[in-house]
């Protein structure tokens, strides 16, 4: 993974010092609250319902075991011994103290981490495929490009005060695990005559007005990546709406201008700078790529009789392998994902001890690295197949072997009303109620893969628009209700879910989900997935079943 050189380190250290000064000036009354608000937001510090919340950047989800141990230490020393993995591959601390944040930043800087631009109206953490460089369906590793974007966007002097927040995602595989079509900018790597090329999408996004992004450039050469992004950002910075925060995202601008006109504007701007000093050099591309070389893989065999026997034998281990272990591009290796979705634990939450165990297991079985996924899980990307059973046993002891990856109970869920001051409704108890309703693993396996996504408000941090089943907390005359939608997808076949109808009380949600599942089971053909059945039969049968008694 990328390792800081003296320049990267110096800038992060200087930012810590700068933020310490800003905090001191705020505490002494020199810096007014309205101004400090914007400054702390650009450093990931929110003031939430119960306490401040600090969001730590995890560039494209990559973490080393050393960094994990530092996070564990920070949660113990400065927080309550747990943290939360977010849907943007970041980490959140729920209970830090404002006065101690500069110290936390200093701890983070000591392991090459920071909170820069994890909130505020600026370019946020660039996200990517959690299976980068190990997935068999990959065309090219997206991480060097994501890192180049990270550096370019960090402290960009011109784009720190955009109309609204700005999110970029990059994928290099056939399967889009980075949800690039619902980002402000989505970048898809492809190959043309052996050369790297980018397809650029703009204007996607969730939130109040969900939109699938549009391709604004079909083919871009690698050395032009940053200048082209600069052109998009400049057009957005100048012409994006600033009068209404709900209409300020780039998707509204692209739509208002039409994607064609927007693309022309970007093109005209780009022509003025494409060959200038921002153009990437071969040397720089190579320098960054060298940080993402292959680990020292052994020559292993895919056929491991001892493990294969155990997979068919032991129902616990076998079920876990079936769901949580994916094929790797190298023979004899597997991609293992820990589903952080145990019933009665908030989705994506881990304790300090679990973080340390994950760090140890990463060192022991996966070259000391992990990836955070946007489904709020953690991936060990390079596990030898022969070690699977040992790994599973250790995970099981630490309550990290939940065998429900990709299943109905692997719910994507924002922090919601339990923590978030913007929430209309709680989301964590809804996730738990659904997990309790569907507690039969055999049944879940039979249902197959499906995404259930929950957001506590229109901001859609739980990506409810792209859930096969999406649940949105709404406020109905002061009480918490839930609007259910169906048919969304965040992958390469991206689609926005359609609202079923009037919203439901919290207690009714599990029954509603059960009804939707029953419609699916009654209609599915062969091994059709939930989403495929929906696409074939449409929304009406689901509506009729859910509102049958009204």
């Amino acid at each position: 993974m990328y390792v800081y050189d003296e320049y990267d380190q110096k800038m992060v250290d200087e930012r810590v010092a700068q933020y310490r000064d800003q905090t001191n000036r705020y505490l002494s009354g020199e810096l007014p609250a309205d101004e400090f608000l914007h400054l702390r937001l650009r450093n990931g510090l929110y003031i939430q319902r119960l306490a401040p919340m600090l969001r730590i950047a995890v560039p494209y989800g990559m973490l080393s075991s050393r960094q994990l141990r530092k996070i564990a230490h920070i949660t113990r020393q400065y927080d309550r011994g747990f943290c939360h993995f977010t849907t943007r591959q970041n980490i959140q601390l729920n209970w830090p103290v404002l006065e101690q944040v500069p110290d936390i930043l200093e701890e983070l800087a000591s392991v090459q981490m920071h909170t820069i631009q994890t909130s505020g109206n600026c370019i946020r953490n660039t996200t990517s495929d959690q299976f980068a460089a190990v997935a068999p369906d990959e065309i090219e590793d997206p991480r060097p490009w994501a890192e180049l974007i990270r550096q370019w966007s960090t402290f960009h002097p011109e784009f720190n005060w955009l109309p609204r927040k700005f999110k970029i995602a990059v994928t290099g595989a056939r399967r889009d695990r980075a949800a690039i079509q619902v980002h402000d900018i989505g970048i898809r790597l492809f190959e043309k005559s052996g050369q790297t090329r980018f397809e650029i999408l703009a204007g996607g996004g969730l939130g109040r007005t969900p939109v699938i992004g549009t391709v604004i450039r079909e083919e871009l050469e690698p050395h032009h990546l940053l200048t082209y992004l600069e052109a998009i950002l400049r057009v957005y910075n100048r012409y994006g709406r600033r009068d209404n925060k709900y209409k300020a995202r780039i998707k509204i601008l692209v739509r208002a201008m039409t994607p064609e006109v927007f693309a022309e504007k970007v093109e005209a701007e780009w022509q003025t700078l494409k060959d200038g000093s921002g153009m990437l050099s071969e040397v720089e591309i190579d320098r960054v790529k060298k940080h993402f070389t292959e680990p020292d893989y052994e020559h292993l065999d895919d056929h491991v009789p001892e493990v294969d026997d155990l997979i068919s034998d032991s129902s616990g281990f076998g079920a876990w392998v079936k769901q949580n272990v994916k094929p790797h591009k190298k023979p004899g290796y597997c991609i293992v994902t820990l589903a952080l979705k145990n019933t009665a634990v908030a989705p994506g939450d881990v304790t300090d001890e679990q973080l340390e165990i994950i760090a140890d297991l990463a060192d022991k079985y996966s070259f000391g690295e992990v990836r955070v996924t946007h489904e709020q899980n953690v991936t060990l990307a390079d596990v030898p197949k022969k070690a699977l059973h040992d790994l599973w046993s250790e995970l099981a002891t630490a309550s990290l072997a939940s065998p429900n990856l990709g299943l109905l109970t692997d719910i994507i869920c924002c922090p919601g009303g339990d923590y978030c001051s913007l929430a209309n409704a709680k989301s964590i108890p809804v996730a738990e109620a659904i997990q309790r309703q569907f507690d039969d693993l055999g049944y879940l396996h039979d249902l197959g893969e499906m995404d259930v996504n929950i957001s506590g408000c229109m901001n859609a941090c739980g990506h409810h628009h792209v859930g096969n089943i999406g649940i949105l907390g709404v406020d109905k005359k002061g009480s918490e209700f839930y609007q259910v939608s169906i048919g969304g997808s965040g992958y390469e076949d991206a689609a926005l879910a359609k609202i079923l109808g009037p919203s439901f009380a919290q207690d009714d949600v599990p029954t509603v989900i059960q009804t939707l599942i029953d419609v699916y089971l009654n209609n599915r053909q062969e091994d059709e997935k939930f989403i495929d059945t929906y696409r074939r039969i449409g929304i009406d049968p689901y509506k009729q079943a859910v509102y049958a008694n009204e």
Partner: protein, 153 residues
């Protein structure tokens, strides 16, 4: 008369925002500026929603362009400064006016500003410090610095 910071020094501005009297020798709003037949020795101030390209033809002779920040969180003037320097080739004074706060000065300077009329209540001494210290490097190519990757190579 309020002082401004220009090229790192606290100075009394040569040109001030036009209020009444003679336009020549002061800084007039864009619309007024464009309507002037004799534009010599006249500065112009451009609001965040106005396009700097409209003065492209005159930049050789303009002594000062002031870019307004209606509120400090409105970032349009950063792009305006970039375009003035990079595309229009303007080499004169670009002054930040309006809600100009010291924590943003470094970003402004990296986008091409070289003068700052601070908002009321901002500490000019501290501002000079911010401008001098700043960050040691910048990842991006800016009007004043090459991209960091050029330095690394």
């Amino acid at each position: 008369m309020n002082k401004i910071i220009k090229d790192g020094e606290l100075v009394t501005p040569e040109y001030e925002i036009f209020e009444s009297g003679e336009a020549k020798g002061s800084i007039v709003p864009l619309e007024t500026f464009l309507a002037l037949t004799d534009k010599s020795n006249t500065g112009v101030w451009i609001d965040a929603h106005e396009e700097v390209e409209t003065i492209a033809a005159f930049v050789q002779d303009i002594p000062v362009v002031a870019l307004n920040f209606p509120v400090f969180a409105d970032g349009r003037a950063y792009s305006s400064a970039n375009i003035l320097r990079r595309v229009c080739g303007y080499t004169g004074e670009i002054r930040a006016m309006g809600d100009v706060r010291i924590d943003q000065l470094e970003q402004m300077s990296r986008c091409g500003f070289n003068a700052y009329a601070l908002a009321h209540g901002q500490d000019a001494e501290k501002a000079m410090g911010v401008l001098i210290q700043g960050f040691s490097y910048s990842y991006q190519a800016t009007v004043s610095q090459p991209a960091l990757f050029a330095l690394r190579a």
